[in-house]
């Protein structure tokens, strides 16, 4: 298998040939982008790694139409810097997992961003990566190149494979080119901070701000132990939990809206304000998940109804020592737990089953990830459909077999 190891096809056709050959010979492949999220998922038994990294380049950028296309291997950092040159951005703030996984920042590729559908703080107001994907070109496990969607904002022509492939972790098809919606960067940004709130109150405050007409674009709460790890000295030195709300808009609107939100939340205590520069620092840091870095313990990522967030954390805390970072106004919880043989999987899953939602073991030693379900186990009906979907795209089972679920 040495011929096959570590290939980097430079274009879609070459990639398709590799996959067709692997399908013919039943050779399981690990599909990678920049490798920043390589250690997420179940460890796989594959014969070779094929990287999309050499398929690079921005192929279309129309700022006035808010649309960009890029080959899947284009680095996220290049895309974001080109967008910034035109005052635009990826509105869903793709989470930067590299540092958390022990790698360098800036390694992610745009294909990996959509294949994993990991979105950052703004997801709560503006949608996920999958909501911004307009079109894809991809190669399935038969080595066939196909497309779906396009470059326009509205498109219901045929089934929606853009959504279908988002978050499929390279197990259905390899994205070769993606077209996505971009948005203007806001003129101004401010952050309101509450200190020392218990989780329950914090999430209540976040939810009531989210339920206001003032378009909060980020709503997070860090327990004191994690807030202490913030690089932003002004916040980390407080020794208290940090609850933060972001408002982005034209300057005048930011002023008006932060005032209104302060008024709305005054019962929760003193409200501090971060200016634009400080806001950008803090939200940038949150996006890199730097508060989870350095911890040796396993990290879980939990998606639940926002109001259930603190209940989930309280219930898990009854079983194990855990530290929580709430995003999405409580609906996304990153928790760090102590390293054990199963990373607390049995208890964490039981808690989720009670409160609703799903959870992924983002960071843990390979032997732990091999022993427990990394992704949320599916109900039998969903599992059957997912298995069949996998077989429809990749009948030979060559694309990241077993990465998401055992057996497919």
């Amino acid at each position: 298998m040495s011929v096959l190891s570590n290939m980097r096809p430079v274009d879609e056709r070459e990639f398709a040939r590799v996959l067709a050959e692997a399908a013919a010979t039943g050779t399981p492949l690990e599909i990678s982008g920049g490798g920043s999220k390589q250690s997420i998922g179940r460890p796989m038994q594959t014969s070779a790694t094929v990287s999309a990294k050499a398929m690079r380049g921005i192929t279309l950028y129309e700022p006035s139409e808010m649309v960009m296309s890029a080959r899947a291997g284009t680095s996220l950092s290049q895309i974001e810097s080109d967008l910034a040159d035109h005052g635009q951005m990826l509105a869903f703030e793709p989470a930067e997992l590299g540092p958390l996984m022990g790698g360098e920042p800036g390694q992610a590729t745009i294909g990996g961003v959509f294949a994993t559908n990991f979105s950052g703080a703004r997801r709560v107001s503006i949608g996920a990566a999958r909501d911004h994907l307009l079109g894809v070109r991809a190669i399935n496990g038969r080595g066939e190149i196909f497309k779906s969607g396009g470059r326009v904002m509205k498109n219901v022509t045929g089934y929606d494979l853009c959504r279908g492939l988002s978050g499929s972790w390279g197990t259905l098809a390899v994205l070769s080119e993606v077209t996505f919606k971009v948005l203007p960067m806001p003129e101004d940004t401010a952050t309101l901070v509450l200190l020392g709130l218990p989780d329950e109150f914090a999430v209540e405050a976040l939810c009531s701000a989210m339920s206001s007409p003032f378009e909060v674009s980020g709503a997070v709460h860090l327990q004191a132990a994690l807030a202490a790890r913030l690089e932003h000295a002004g916040l980390s030195s407080q020794g208290k939990a940090v609850t933060a709300l972001r408002v982005e808009n034209f300057t005048k609107s930011v002023r008006y809206r932060t005032d209104r939100i302060k008024n709305l939340l005054k019962a929760y205590g003193d409200i501090h304000e971060l200016d634009r520069d400080n806001s950008l620092l803090v939200w940038g840091e949150l996006r890199r998940l730097s508060v989870l870095r350095g911890g040796e313990g396993p990290v879980w990522r939990i998606s639940t109804a926002p109001a259930a967030g603190p209940k989930v954390v309280a219930a898990i805390s009854a079983y194990m020592d855990c530290r929580a970072f709430y995003d999405w106004s409580g609906g996304l919880v990153w928790i760090e737990v102590l390293a054990t043989t199963d990373a607390g999987a049995a208890d964490v899953r039981r808690v989720i089953a009670t409160h609703g939602g799903h959870t992924t073991l983002i960071h843990a030693a390979p032997e732990v990830r091999a022993a427990v379900e990394v992704f949320q186990p599916l109900e039998p009906g969903l599992e059957r459909l997912s298995r069949k979907l996998k077989a429809a795209f990749d009948p030979a089972g060559i694309l990241n077999p077993g990465r998401m679920y055992p057996g497919f």
């Binding site: 808010m66 904002m153 498109n155 022509t157 959504r163 939810c207 034209f250 005048k252």
Partner: protein, 507 residues
């Protein structure tokens, strides 16, 4: 032009005044031959079906069935085998299990306002209409979700959460009549989707009944469902993957205020360039709607909204926020528009005026339907091509000796050219169809697509190859086979009738 006062087809739905049924041209689209075995057993099947649902839940008589023979693409009519009006997920499940076991085709239906023939029945198919499943199951303002049975109308959701100050964002013009079920079927959009997204961006959870009767739950009140994005595949699948019975949708707090402005231009092309300039300046209004002169005149006569009837093109631009924010933003937009020599620039001065402005826009199809038959197109194009495409559309219609009224969601490039013609004139109807095809091909070659929000249905089924290769289509059809291996759900739609076998064999 012949003036027709036209009537809503007897399609068994409470149709709002402004969601009247247009007449599509009498197109020669092939529909599959009905299964004679099933047809012959109709009486017995109806008897069986009656045992599966509460009394009154099955319509078997000719007249009753005829009420469901079409949707808003009324050129096509097929009286269904029977119609079921289930009141629960369990009933839907029993019906599907029976149909699956007996190889009976099924067409899911909401309110039947589809403009692409998506809800058109077949003579050998059971129509399952969810119109009796309208309960609101839960409103959760803390988590900003509402859980409903999908037979509720689109507007019904907003109405249910209005007292708490919330609304459901996607707002098709047909929102008074159309159901969430149909919105999910078509991934419907609306005027305010520029800011808030379309249906797929606003659904968090679904209860789906598969063709074999199995009930599955996807997602919930949390964001981003676990595993593969099956919800993303189901939304917009035109009733071909399963029947949705319940959904959890995202609800949003209503803005403090909203206000539209009207900007008239001396040419459509200038209006198009103005739209690009506004978006290029980093401003995303909540809506940017476009009308050309024929549309302006008809809508003004209907709604008395104060539209400038001498303008060649009109933009309705709406922004949201506090009174002061609105004033500031409209001011900036007015400044940008000023660079394009607008003939009129008028800000709505009252809630009544705003309502009239939107009434005119949202009843545009109905208003035009009062004066002529029309064929409604739904392509999307890249915004930068707007000017050129508008010129080309008028050339196409001129060539065929037809008039066209253009109404569309300009902010996201979703065009609705309405080709006016006389349905009683067969030759003209044929020309309208031809012009429509040419317009859609133009949209695709301009970098856009066949349908932005109305769906493929039967109407655009045979044009799919203009946009997709065989491999592209096979990738989609295999998904149909995953969910519905016997292809019993709404099978005559979306995919060209030929070429299905290879995709099926490959699956």
């Amino acid at each position: 032009m012949r003036f027709v006062i036209y009537h809503v087809g007897a399609s068994g739905r409470e149709s709002a005044d402004d969601t009247q049924t247009p007449w599509g041209p009498t197109m020669p689209l092939a529909l599959p031959e009905p299964d004679q075995v099933v047809m012959r057993q109709r009486e017995a099947i109806v008897e069986d079906l009656r045992r599966l649902v509460a009394p009154g839940g099955i319509i078997g008589d000719e007249e009753g069935r005829r009420a469901y023979e079409t949707d808003a693409l009324t050129a096509y009519r097929r009286v269904p085998l029977a119609v079921a009006l289930p009141t629960s997920t369990e009933e839907v499940s029993r019906l599907l299990r029976y149909c699956h076991a007996n190889d009976i085709k099924v067409v899911a239906r909401g309110a039947g306002t589809s403009l692409s023939g998506g809800a058109l029945p077949a003579e050998d198919a059971l129509v399952i209409a969810v119109s009796r499943m309208t309960r609101v199951l839960g409103i959760d303002t803390m988590n900003r979700t509402a859980t409903v049975e999908v037979g509720i109308t689109n507007l019904g959701i907003s109405e249910a959460v209005k007292a708490q100050g919330f609304f459901y964002a996607p707002d098709p013009s047909s929102q008074l009549a159309c159901t969430l079920a149909g919105n999910i079927g078509m991934n419907s959009g609306g005027a305010h989707c520029l800011k808030y997204g379309v249906t797929t961006n606003n659904v968090l959870g679904l209860k789906l009944v598969l063709m074999d009767g199995e009930v599955i739950d996807i997602g919930g009140r949390h964001l981003d469902a676990a595993g593969y994005d099956l919800m993303g595949l189901i939304v917009g699948s035109e009733g071909q993957l399963g029947i949705v019975t319940e959904a959890t949708v995202r609800i949003l707090r209503a803005p403090e205020g909203a206000r539209p402005m009207l900007i008239g231009f001396n040419s459509s092309e200038t209006a198009g360039r103005c739209v690009s300039a506004i978006i290029g300046a980093g401003i995303i209004p909540v809506a940017i709607e476009f009308m050309d002169k024929p549309a302006i005149q008809v809508c003004e006569a209907f709604a008395k909204a104060g539209y400038p009837t001498d303008a060649e093109a009109l933009l309705i631009i709406e922004v949201e926020g506090s009174t002061e924010e609105i004033a500031d933003l409209l001011n900036v937009i007015g400044g940008i528009a000023g660079r394009f020599a607008p003939s009129v620039l008028r800000i709505s001065q009252s809630a009544e005026q705003s309502a009239a402005i939107w009434k005119g826009r949202k009843s545009a199809f109905g208003a035009i339907g009062r004066i002529s038959d029309y064929y409604c197109m739904d392509g999307t194009i890249p915004l930068g091509k707007l000017g050129a495409v508008l010129v080309a559309i008028s050339q196409i219609c001129d060539k065929h000796g037809l008039k066209v009224a253009n109404i569309f969601h300009a902010g996201d490039g979703n065009l609705h050219p309405l080709i006016l013609y006389d349905a009683n004139d067969e030759a003209e109807a044929e020309r309208a169809e031809k012009a429509g095809e040419e317009i859609l091909e133009l949209c695709v070659t301009s970098g856009g697509c066949l349908t932005g929000e109305h769906g493929v249905g039967i109407e655009k089924r045979d044009l799919m190859r203009v946009q997709f290769t065989e491999t592209d289509l096979a990738a989609q059809m295999r998904i149909k086979t995953v969910f519905d291996p016997k292809w019993l759900l709404n099978p005559a739609k979306v995919f060209p009738l030929d070429g299905r076998e290879t995709a099926l064999e490959a699956a």
